[in-house]
């Protein structure tokens, strides 16, 4: 067999294997034991989060050759936006059939995260990067590092956020009196009441119905007489479901991104600026707008990733973006920085390799592995897996 045929065969086998894992992730109950398939599934969902962040790195690099090290903090800002929407939005108490209130609450959180991240990135670009765009790459890189530290510390000092990690608001699944908990159902355990009129602040009555117990009839009568609508807290979202949603979200987001970049005017402008900024400008492309749009798109993905990441790990703090940001940078380099498919492939690959290494070699050295991968790829194939070798013009 010739070398290209072999390569093609290997690639097809890999792709088939990957689709199998994704299919199992979406259908089966994988991700809950300790088998190879479970690690693959978890690695895929973790890699999807890396991919979300890596896309922003790669797009910004592709267009202005800047490693935006503040990207991890943009991710953190999005996570916090989602946190506040989930905590204070109260969407889960909407009078809709389950599970719609929860779905809506999460949708709102993801949108808020995307928007806050996007706006923050556009601001950062306009205020910090644009003025020094012509001052060379080292100046921009240092600005990015400085901005990253600034955002971290502003978050630490901002009273609404603070330096301490916060438990992620649990995805609340509420149910009404119509199906009163039976003692056999272990999931009902806390009761809160809301004003029957809806609106207003959530009233929390400390009844704390013991896990598995029913509400005393007298209490229920009292609540109903007071015009309150008792809601029972039912279980939270399974980690498995979270894994599935993350991978689906990535698929949808990359699809939309592909469409935006390949099929729209703005996308064409982006590709043009990425290829040759000066020529694009001469052809009438508004470079500032294109760069701002790139920052915005990359940050929107990071915001989505931020909410997804924190839902998965159950906490959020000002340093949340640090490690995922670094890992995603490695993923972007692994995939070939500047390449959009590369970011997705690099993210997924890093997630999977990291998890397999953690599972079969050592959980302790898992973090170190990612950095070994970075050094390795820079030594062996600096352009990354899907990156194009670009001749630097001097």
């Amino acid at each position: 067999m010739t070398r290209p045929t072999l390569l093609l065969a290997a690639r097809s086998a890999l792709a088939l294997g990957f689709f199998y894992v994704v299919a199992r992730l979406l259908t089966g109950d994988a991700g809950s034991g300790g088998t190879l398939l479970d690690y693959l599934v978890i690695g895929t969902s973790q890699g999807a989060i890396y991919a979300f962040i890596a896309l922003g790195y790669t797009m910004v690099y592709g267009i202005i050759r800047l490693i935006n090290f503040a990207h991890g903090e943009i991710f953190m800002a999005g996570a916090f936006a989602g946190y506040f929407v989930l905590r204070d939005g109260g969407l889960e108490r909407l009078d809709l059939p389950q599970p719609w209130p929860v779905v809506l609450a999460y949708l709102a959180a993801v949108l808020a995260g995307a928007l806050v991240s996007g706006v923050l990135a556009v601001l950062a670009e306009a205020l910090c990067y644009r003025p020094i765009r012509s001052s060379g790459r080292i100046a921009a890189l240092l600005t990015a590092v400085g901005l990253s530290l600034l955002l971290q510390n502003v978050a630490r000092q901002w009273p609404a956020i603070g330096p301490t990690q916060r438990p992620w608001p649990d995805p609340l699944v509420w149910t009404t009196l119509a199906d009163v908990p039976s003692p056999a159902d272990a999931h009902y355990y806390e009761l809160r009441t809301f004003p029957a009129s809806g609106g207003g602040t959530v009233q929390r009555e400390k009844l704390a119905v013991a896990k598995g117990a029913t509400l005393a009839p007298a209490v229920r009568t009292r609540l109903e007489a007071g015009g309150d609508r008792p809601l029972y807290r039912k279980g939270s979202i399974e980690p498995r479901t979270v894994n599935r949603v993350i991978v689906l979200l990535l698929a949808v987001c990359t699809g939309v991104l592909w469409f935006l970049v390949q099929r729209t005017r703005m996308g064409r402008a982006m590709r043009a600026v990425s290829e040759d900024t000066a020529a694009a400008q001469l052809m009438g492309v508004n470079v500032n707008r294109v760069v701002a749009a790139t920052f915005f798109l990359g940050a929107v993905l990071a915001g989505v990733g931020g909410v997804a990441y924190c839902t998965r790990y159950g906490q959020v703090d000002p340093l949340t973006g640090f490690m995922p940001g670094l890992k995603a940078f490695i993923a972007a380099v692994l995939g070939g920085i500047g390449s959009i498919p590369g970011a997705v492939v690099g993210g997924l690959l890093l997630g999977i390799v990291e998890n397999l290494f953690g599972a079969y070699v050592s959980t302790q050295w898992k973090d170190a592995l990612a950095f070994v991968v970075l050094v390795g790829i820079l030594l062996v194939r600096p352009t990354g897996l899907l990156g194009k070798a670009r001749r630097e013009k001097v």
């Binding site: 300790g34 630490r156 301490t164 999931h187 399974e238 498995r240 490690m323 302790q364």
Partner: protein
Amino acid sequence: MGRLAFRLLPVLALGLLLATPARAADPELVIGVLLPMSGDVATYGEESWNGVKIAEKEIRAKDPAFAFKLVLNDEQSKREQVGPQTKQLIENHGASIVLGSVASSQTMQAAIVCKEAGIPLLTHASTNDTLTEDVAKYGKDVYRVCFKDSFQGTMLGRFAWNSLKAKKAVSLIDKGQAYSVGLAAQFEKEFVRLGGTVTTEYYTSTDKDYTTLVQKVGGLAPEVILISGYYPQAGPMIRLGKTAWKGMPVIGGDGLDSPDLLPLAGETDAKIYFTSHFVATDADPLVQDFVKKYQDAYEGKDPGAMAALGYDGLWAIYHAAKKAAAARGAEKVRPADLSAAFVGLEFTGVTGKILIGADRSPRKAVVVVQASGAFQFVEKIQPE
């Protein structure tokens, strides 16, 4: 007349100014308090300080003649902050004693600074054995009002073997925390002595992603999982273990005792037990009395173990200072006198009877707590 008063005013003001230093010259005991008020384990700092403040109010009411001042510094749950913050307490504020901190690795750093300055340190919550044992490193002026991990870890091992009937354990260790390493070693010693087997896995607190670890542990199918460490790591692990750890009880030491543990763990069916110093649901009248005081002071919140230990810590300093003053007569109490007064000090605190022995640690009861919905009292084990 009015004019005269105006002319006298500067004189009066000057007089006041001069009078103030004269009052400050009274032998006022400056107590430096070092706590993690922010960062990873901030709930420990907050609870401890709440407890200290209740004790302060009571001491001032009981003995108005006892002049003391509390200065609080935040070590931010960061090891590199401990040194400078402790130094500042001693050098800028003139602390004669330092109370704190919580995490053993932090307290060790503080102890080194205190040793150089010749100031005693009383930790209300650091349980690692070496803190009071390694005299060469941490000095001989380190005391504590809590039990040691050799006791806590042993009791944890017995609880897992006797009450949970477990034979196969996995212990999760953070090598970066002295507390985590020490507690797990003591647990393993006892659990293996009883006939069980222990598999060890490691995690780091800088990595927030425990998915792989959790899966790996679940795959080992242990009958009990020991998370040796603190709640910011234990909570998310329990959350991630929702399906992978189904039916496997999770145990830990007092590092799990925080109001943030259950919110971090999320909705879970896991059976979570930990050993601690105090639990608000203990029926002991002394405990209930403290719970009431705490609830009155802090909007109905229940005190955690750190609050009770902070409270006992300040009282211990008060008793020691009184004892030292009695021994010194009219002379000013020096830090060395204070230090000497801790040996053999005996009083009843809300975390139990405290008698600081020659090993500079008390022998106290350990409380087993179950965390399901709230912290439930399971049993209290007295030291033999």
